[in-house]
Amino acid sequence: MLSYLLFSVTIGGIYALLALALNLAWGGAGLVNLGLAGFFGIGAYATALATGAGLPVALGLGIAMLAGVLAGLAITGATLRLRDDYLAIVTLGFGEIVRLVALNERWLTNGADGLSGIVAPFKAQLGVQGFNQGSALAVTALVLLVWWLLRRLDASPFGRALRAVREDQELAAFAGKPVLRLKFQAFALSAALAGLAGALYAHTQSYISPDHFQPLITIYIFLAVTAGGLGRPLGALLGAYAVVIFLEGTRFLAALVPGIEPVQVAALREALVGLSLLLVLHFRPRGLLPERIPPAPKALP
């Protein structure tokens, strides 16, 4: 039971990183990224392959983020003229392409069998239990660090300019803001964080396959950010943990319903996820922790 809990904390942290990444691009700059699972997958495969070739894990994490950045820049470059729904469609396609490449380029990714035996740092020294505790701790610490940094960024002139791009990019240009640069930076940083989340996933789970990067993950993260409060890093973070608690909790809840098959249990869980999103959007349309407008400083003497 303890290792299950630790596993949930680790997964919760990885989801939280993804939610923070999405909140930066979507909540910050208005860039809808439905390909989050793709960036997540790119990060996971990048570090798995790099550390598999003998590079140290720290370098693997860096390579995963770099791979995310490069993919993010490519996607932003290809979709400069698109926004909202069209950007969403392109990124959704991108996420699926990543998954399909991972599935079919067996020479690189070992196809549907996935990559196993990914380096688990310090596992030999810590033992299985110690490794699980260490993973949960390290991931949580990283989540808090990223959250703190993004909150800073959010409150900075950069965050303000980004919001202006989100609200009206044409007007933001008239306000003198370099819209393209801001979009590139926000999307690339967001992709780097998603790549980092993928790398953490790979090293804590030691096994990845294309199945782990289904678009469903993206949906969960959208759920987390929407329910938590779009445009507020703390909202995204708590929303992600709430989604994981909900997903794991409904496992037990569904088991309490008598006379249903395991397959129906899975379907029931999905239905509950959908229902809960509807309820949150109905009662708290701006999320549990809505975006705040920072107050002006009081008049100077």
């Binding site: 940094l149 900075s156 303000r160 919001r163 202006a164 933001a172 008239f174 306000a175 803001k177 008049a299």
Partner: protein
């Protein structure tokens, strides 16, 4: 007097229909220039070309002596050319204060790393801008509304916010697209007074407006456009007395 803005031979068509057919005029530096003309004369299109929203098919735009034809809006803003909109636009989920701060030029904190690590330069600039924003808010009597989201403001207040944030941009010249549209007379007088005081500080203004008494009151220089061309330029009294202007407006010679 040297020209703040010179447009020369600007042409622009939409789907084969010519909206601008070689407009040329100059806005003297330090003037309040009125751009008038009947509906369909191409005034808004011209404003969009000059402000970088539309690329002209031909012709040149010079600002303070430098050619800026086809420059993106943020590059024009950096040189001190900015504009307002006929229907006041704003960023819906940002407060009046955030609007003012946003328009401040030369913000080191808008860089990703500077934003993240809040360098001393970024903090200092933020304090300077905050001080200016509070000053402008007092001047426009918007101080009590600084924390309000712009969606909560009345149409007239939005116009004032637009003037305020434009001022934050430290412009050399402002293009105003119908600053009085949909504004009640008393606020209109207030806006006119603000425009005059801006001009007194050395900011060149070019306004598209239909309110003739206002044009007469404010504008020392008037450009009349019709059918995508410049018809006449001169003082208000000169241009209204011009037979071609009367014909363009009234459809016959008076």
């Amino acid at each position: 007097m040297s020209a703040a803005l010179e447009v020369h031979g600007i042409t622009r068509s939409f789907f084969g229909v010519a909206a601008l057919r070689g407009v040329r005029f100059a806005v003297p530096e330090g003037s309040i220039t009125g751009l008038i003309g009947p509906n369909g004369a191409g005034k808004s299109t011209l404003l969009n070309v000059v402000s970088g929203l539309l690329r002209p098919d031909g012709g040149t735009v010079r600002f303070l002596g430098d050619e800026v034809t086809g420059f993106a809006p943020h590059r024009l803003a950096a040189r001190g050319l900015t504009r307002t909109f006929q229907v006041a636009r704003g960023f819906p989920r940002m407060s009046v204060f955030q609007h003012f701060m946003l328009y401040g030029p030369r913000q080191p904190g808008e860089g990703l790393l500077q934003g993240l690590f809040r360098g001393a330069a970024a903090r200092r600039r933020e304090e300077e801008l905050a001080e200016r924003a509070l000053g402008i808010a007092r001047r426009l009597r918007l101080a009590p509304l600084l924390d309000a989201p712009v969606t909560a403001l009345s149409g007239g207040q939005k116009k004032l916010v637009e003037i305020g944030r434009t001022l934050m941009a430290e412009p050399r010249m402002i293009l105003l697209d119908e600053p009085m549209a949909g504004v009640n007379p008393s606020l209109g007088a207030e806006i006119a007074a603000h425009l005059q005081s801006l001009n007194a500080e050395g900011i060149t203004l070019c306004l598209v407006e239909h309110d003739m008494p206002l044009i007469r009151q404010l504008c020392g220089h008037v450009v009349v456009m019709a059918e995508g061309r410049t018809l006449v330029t001169g003082s208000f009294d000169e241009v209204v007395a011009h037979p071609e202007v009367q014909e363009a407006y009234l459809g016959h010679r008076a």
